[in-house]
């Protein structure tokens, strides 16, 4: 018994994992690309805390919670949008103009055991707060697509789907508020059968229900057959977004009326990025009512990319990060001072240098070199080169 209880625990808790150097290095490359892309569109970084009060979170069932020492119930943040909404309501209450905020952060969600789901997720995203209208919606949609393409994801015509919660709401306009919100709740849960049944039970006419059912299946050019200002808005936003980021595919952005996200706070344009191997990579949309629940109503739109899924999608496509320059592993000479000076000289020439051997390369190519003198090394092929020549050679 005693020996069993003293055996050290080597694995992290379920749903959490170690990110090893090869993957971590790839994630850093993605992080730099994404944060650089956000910054290039005027989005300022923001770092809300890891822990928030549970009572301030909209969906308690997915929280990982614990008691603070003062007895208050706190939770690891389940997303950033809620934290940003809270923060904006507190710090930017009097700000009239548009706020462009971005983040790259870990979030935590409770998941049932034995389902191979992660409880720690990395999200990269932006929030555009205080701006409304098609230009704002298109800006955020285009920025998502730009971010994905700059990261190396290959888009096709079915990658980006764009819907509109307002269109869906209007399809069930004949219903009273209560049955209608039940219908929308069923749609958010993915239960199309239950939603249509509830609509019929609540007295919606057979032809109205049939029309709603048909509209919920409409994708692509089919939206041209639908009427309504919100359908026009949806098409307009997709067209504008393509102007902002034409992208590498001829036509990206598939209008999809049946796209109804699970999160309840969306109010207008919504969108998702899908990948055949990993599912939903990113999602976002307009949420004009969320910040108001913290006491400072403000129109807002944004998106979040699931960075680990983006990485898996890139991996599935054979993506590798732009090759880092090789690492010189320097075999010390007899004189330790000369070894250190030689290493300094190589670094000054712009090379990456490790003294001694390297057990974990994280996928980086190694170039073995032995110290000759303060500025020269001998390579494995027998040549002796000075630091500048070696640097020039490895750069090509």
């Amino acid at each position: 018994m005693e020996s069993a209880s003293q055996r050290p625990l080597l694995s992290p808790p379920r749903g959490f994992r170690d990110v090893l150097p090869t993957e971590a290095r790839e994630l850093r490359v993605i992080e730099q690309t994404l944060t650089g892309t956000f910054a290039a569109s005027g989005y300022m970084p923001l770092e809300p805390p890891m822990i928030e009060y549970s009572a301030a979170q909209p969906a308690p069932e997915r929280l990982i919670q614990f008691l603070d020492t003062d007895g208050s119930l706190v939770a690891l943040r389940p997303d950033l949008t809620t934290a940003v909404a809270r923060l904006v309501a507190q710090r930017y209450r009097e700000t009239a103009g548009a706020l462009r905020l971005s983040y790259f952060a870990r979030v935590f969600r409770e998941q049932p055991a034995m389902t191979a789901t992660e409880r720690e997720v990395v999200q990269a995203g932006v929030e555009l707060i205080g701006a409304s209208g098609p230009i704002a919606d298109a800006e955020v949609l285009a920025l998502l697509v730009e971010s994905l393409e700059r990261s190396g994801l290959r888009l096709d015509g079915s990658t980006i789907h764009v819907g509109h919660v307002g269109v869906v709401r209007r399809l069930f306009a004949p219903l009273d508020e209560e049955p209608r919100s039940e219908v929308l709740g069923a749609l958010r849960a993915g239960d199309l059968v239950g939603a249509l049944r509830r609509a019929r039970e609540a007295g919606m006419a057979r032809e109205d229900t049939a029309r709603a059912q048909a509209a919920l299946g409409v994708v692509g050019r089919g939206v041209e057959q639908l009427e309504g200002g919100d359908v026009e808005e949806l098409r307009h936003v997709v067209h504008l977004a393509r102007e902002r980021w034409p992208g590498s595919v001829e036509v990206w952005g598939l209008p999809n009326i049946g796209l109804v996200p699970a999160l309840p706070y969306y109010t207008g344009i919504v969108f998702e990025a899908l990948h055949p191997a990993v599912g939903v990579i990113a999602s976002g949309g307009r949420y004009d009512l969320l910040i108001g629940t913290y006491g400072a109503p403000r129109p807002a739109t944004g998106f979040a990319i699931d960075v680990l899924r983006l990485h898996r999608a890139l991996f599935a496509e054979g993506w590798r990060p732009a090759t880092a320059s090789p690492l010189v592993t320097l075999r010390p000479g007899d004189d330790e001072r000369v070894t250190m000076r030689c290493a300094a000289c190589l670094r000054a020439a712009g090379l990456s240098v490790a003294i001694g051997d390297v057990a974990e390369t994280a996928g980086i190519a190694l170039v073995a070199a032995a110290v000759v003198d303060e500025r020269r090394v001998k390579l494995g092929d027998g040549r002796t080169l000075d630091a500048i020549t070696l640097a020039r050679e490895l750069a090509t």
């Binding site: 389902t115 191979a116 079915s158 990658t159 789907h161 849960a189 993915g190 239960d191 199309l192 059968v193 239950g194 049944r197 299946g217 994708v219 999809n256 049946g258 796209l259 699970a262 998702e272 899908l274 990948h275 055949p276 599912g279 939903v280």
Partner: protein
């Protein structure tokens, strides 16, 4: 991209599911109920995978299969996040609360007295959600099978079970207290697949919906 993968529940629903797929002109000839091959080619870039009913929801939720045919009862118990696209109407059954015939008054007395009832079920999630919504305080006793004997042997006061004809309840001298939900087979889809592979999936959904409504006339 791999073929469109269609997960089918082995067991009671399989023959009806195969009949539905045959009716919409899918080639199910290689699917042999009770056979050993569990992943079979369906022609035309479709393949079928056979699995236990409760695993169908998992397959489709995780995207291991794009589409599936499974009972609403299984979906309710699993809580899987999938799209329910079409009610196929076959495999009809009901989740019910049942109590020993003539003992309803007694158990309600007991509830008033002791403040709680014991409920045996194979479907703890469905049972718990139901009683929470009704505001009734119950203790769930999960059993792996034959919940209907639980009241007889004193394991629990009531049961929550799935009934088709009610024959088993009658044979065990149980009466239905209330119905929780009516269930039947559903066509389900992985949400991401449904959107991403709409061009392949939409015609199948349309034809199955048409077939399902034709069976209702």
């Amino acid at each position: 991209m791999r073929p469109l993968r269609f997960a089918l529940a082995q067991g009671l629903l399989l023959n009806d599911a195969l009949a539905a797929l045959r009716a919409i002109a899918l080639d199910v000839s290689r699917v042999t109920p009770g056979g050993r091959r569990l992943v079979v080619d369906g022609g035309g870039n479709v393949e079928f995978v056979l699995a236990r009913p409760s695993d169908i929801a998992t397959y489709v939720e995780r995207g291991a299969a794009d589409l599936g045919i499974v009972g609403k009862d299984v979906l309710m118990e699993s809580g899987a996040r999938v799209l329910e696209l079409v009610d196929l109407h076959f495999g009809a059954c009901r989740f019910v609360v049942a109590a020993p015939r003539g003992a309803l008054e007694r158990s309600l007395d007991e509830y008033r007295h002791l403040g709680s009832l014991e409920v045996a079920t194979k479907y703890p999630r469905v049972a718990e959600a139901h009683f929470r919504a009704r505001g009734l305080e119950v203790e769930i006793v999960k059993v792996a099978g034959s919940a209907e004997v639980a009241p007889q042997v004193g394991l629990a006061d009531w049961i929550v079970d799935l009934v088709a004809t009610g024959g088993t309840l009658r044979a065990n001298d149980l009466a239905i207290v209330e119905e929780i939900a009516a269930c039947s087979a559903r066509l389900i889809a992985n949400p991401a697949s449904y959107h991403y592979r709409r061009a392949e999936i939409a015609p199948l959904v349309e034809k199955l919906a048409e077939w399902a409504s034709s069976t209702q006339r």
